[in-house]
């Protein structure tokens, strides 16, 4: 029998990264995808966004195929989130569900299609933010894990760890006033916003620390100088991901 040239070409491709979490739909053949997903996590003020931005610039300048996505940024859910926060309608469950709807929208319309389409996807915050933050608000872990089980598992999850005081100071010095939910005022930990924020961030950090092993976090020290941290990050990315596959076509042919 003649081999179909197209199918044999496909077989020689490097093995696709698999999602180990069950997908919400019935299992479909494209559960595995050729793209790669890099995620940064950490508390506010841990330096993660700066580092991901620099990683993105490095890859962009090199001409790699990539897409950048941010937590809580889907236009679809924006008005509801704004209304909920302004009128303080959000409870731990609805806060969590609304963010899940936001993530589902980006996942179904951007992240999954791009991973299928062989892109490098960079995410500033991912489902672990929800696990840590909503867990700190009292949502059951089992419920949260189920809520996000449609999410593809990242190839690398960087966890930027900075001591609580450093992280809190970075945020407080740069912001005139903390917002209600941002400070975790809904938890009733303290009437003082900065103090409430501190207690809330401490709980979130505990949540992150608990996931280091179970979710294969790559822990980075958020107090290191920016350029040294960035060098570490680039080395890890280059060692764990076959970047050539996302390079411009011309470079691939060389």
């Amino acid at each position: 029998m003649m081999e179909n040239p197209e199918s044999s070409a496909k077989q020689t491709r490097p093995e696709a990264v698999k999602s180990t979490l069950p997908q919400p739909g019935r299992p479909v053949p494209n559960r595995a995808y050729p793209g790669a997903l890099i995620v940064v996590e950490g508390t506010d003020g841990s330096g993660k966004s700066t580092q991901l931005y620099l990683l993105k610039r490095w890859l962009e300048i090199g001409g790699y195929r990539l897409h950048f996505t941010e937590w809580n940024s889907s236009p679809l859910v924006k008005s509801a989130t704004r209304r909920g926060k302004q009128r303080r309608l959000l409870t731990p469950s609805t806060f969590s569900l609304l963010h899940a709807a936001d993530f589902a929208d980006r996942c179904e319309r951007q992240i999954m299609p791009l991973l299928q389409g062989d892109y490098l996807v960079l995410a500033d915050r991912y489902i672990y933010t929800a696990f840590a933050r909503d867990g700190a608000r009292g949502c059951p872990e089992k419920w949260l894990r189920n809520l996000y089980r449609f999410a593809p598992v990242p190839d690398i999850t960087f966890y930027f760890r900075a001591p609580l005081d450093v992280a809190v100071q970075r945020i407080l010095s740069g912001r005139p006033k903390l917002k209600y939910y941002e400070a975790g005022m809904d938890l009733g930990l303290s009437y003082d916003r900065p103090e409430s924020f501190r207690l809330f961030q401490a709980r979130i950090m505990d949540g992150y620390d608990k996931m280091v092993e179970s979710d294969n976090f790559v822990v980075l020290d958020g107090t290191l100088p920016v350029n040294r941290l960035q060098r570490q990050m680039r080395e890890i990315v280059a060692s764990k991901i076959d970047l050539k596959r996302f390079a411009p076509r011309a470079a691939e042919a060389e």
Partner: protein, 280 residues
Amino acid sequence: MPETEKEKLQDKERAGAAVEHPEQVPGRLPVPSDDESSRNFFGEPLVGFDPHEITGTLIVIEGMDGSGRSTQISLLQEWLESEGFAVQTSGLRRSTLVGRDIDELLAKNAVTRLTLALMYCTDFFDQLEHRIVPALKSGTIVLADRYIFTLIARSVVRGINRDYLSGLYAMALRPHLTFWLNVRPETAFGREFRKAQAISYWEAGRDMSLSHDLYWSFIRYQTMIKREFEAFAKRHDFLELDGEAPVSTVNKLLRQRIAEQLGIRATKYTPSSALAHLWR
């Protein structure tokens, strides 16, 4: 699971066979057991909630579009109020938080199935926490025009995993009574068409590409939903009523069962002039 079986399953999944997970049975939501939280919830207890505070009664009326749900709820509300009970109603897309946003998403038809499912879930929990639970704590009777069963059924027929959905609604409060007004899709089609001289895109499940013919799309979609309900009915003690019977007959049966639940005598009831037009 033995290694070989695991591999077999993986092979199947790789091959893209539409295997439902072995323990995935229709109507799957945990049934109540002896433990207290399972008597009150479908799984996990709601965050920061004490079931002992509940003194009211949660009554759910389920059924497809055109099964007569809203007619019966109007009548029941009048009857219960005339009996001296405080009544509150709830229904889909009525939350302050996202009710209107869902309307907009549906109108624009610019939403994927999982996002929509999660928006409906947000809508449900916003109403549960801000309206239903406070009402139940104050001894009010809550009449729910549809509940999690409709929401789960709609997502299941669109291919979303059943276990995922029952996990999502694990924190939902278990109703005291769930009535199911069962009608044939053919009957429902006629009733719905007469209401608006049209059938809406979503009622007919047009997003599922079942048929280009509006009638057949409606029938096939509602039949799929109905099958999910049949499975729920068995597992969750639905009180099934013939939705094709006259309004007054259905209403009488509803009142009898509700009176029994509330521990009152089933009294005679005829609707006031404001609702007389419903009493066909």
